[in-house]
């Protein structure tokens, strides 16, 4: 399922559980797959100096980010025996408790998907120019930094 051109990874707003469920459903026709693994990033209601995060507003350098997502995808296919792989990331406002990142990998065998998923998620966090603004309940904000 490799593609040559960078796809658009971004979706406006939260990634719904319907969308995630439907993605799983779509793979039931691909019967060479024996194992899926899924990572879901959820917006956490961190409390910072007594103020609670109510949402994260995501922006990105979209062209560069899509290019980086594509490079991560290509290197994951090179490193691991994957049947398919999908990445979706939110842009705009995602409320606490909602999903902002969905990574889905599939392979004939289980060991591969555990390793591949960790590799992909860590690369996304480190290499893609996506920026999260943490919005507090009082509408003040601070910029998130990945640890």
């Amino acid at each position: 399922m490799q593609s040559k051109k960078p796809k658009n990874v971004f979706q406006q707003g939260a990634i719904s559980s319907d969308f995630i469920g439907n993605s799983i459903f779509k793979h039931q026709t691909k019967t060479s797959i024996g194992a899926h693994n899924i990572f879901l990033g959820q917006v956490r209601a961190d409390v910072i100096d007594g103020k609670t995060v109510s949402a994260i507003e995501y922006t990105a350098y979209e062209d560069m980010a899509n290019k980086k997502f594509h490079e991560i995808r290509e290197s994951a296919f090179e490193k691991f025996d994957l049947t398919c792989m999908h990445i979706y990331h939110s842009l705009g406002t995602v409320k606490a408790g909602e999903i902002c990142l969905f990574v889905f990998v599939s392979s004939p065998r289980r060991k591969v998907v555990f390793e591949a998923l960790e590799f992909i998620v860590e690369a996304i966090k480190a290499e893609t120019p996506v920026f999260g603004k943490e919005i507090f309940e009082d509408e003040s904000h601070q910029w998130k930094i990945n640890s």
């Binding site: 350098y61 996304i124 480190a126 290499e127 120019p129 998130k144």
Partner: protein, 77 residues
């Protein structure tokens, strides 16, 4: 030469704009940063990386006139 610069996240808060086009007469990225620091002094206290043509570059890279972007720490996911 004329160059286009894009600003993101907290960098755009400092510059109060998301992009601009400006005349640049230096050679290296460091020359460009010095000129930006004189316009936006608060940038000196802000952490960021520089991308040219959508690849990260260092201060000693030559500015080619391709698209430049100032990127604050990444926080996707």
């Amino acid at each position: 030469m004329r160059i286009n610069i894009k600003y993101f996240g907290q960098i755009a808060e400092v510059t109060q704009k998301e992009e601009e086009s400006l005349e640049f007469s230096g050679i290296f990225v460091s020359d460009l940063l010095n000129s930006l620091f004189s316009t936006y002094s608060e940038l000196k206290n802000t952490s960021f990386k520089v991308a040219q043509n959508q690849e990260l570059i260092s201060n000693t890279t030559k500015v080619t006139g391709a698209e430049i972007a100032l990127l604050p720490p990444f926080s996707g996911g």
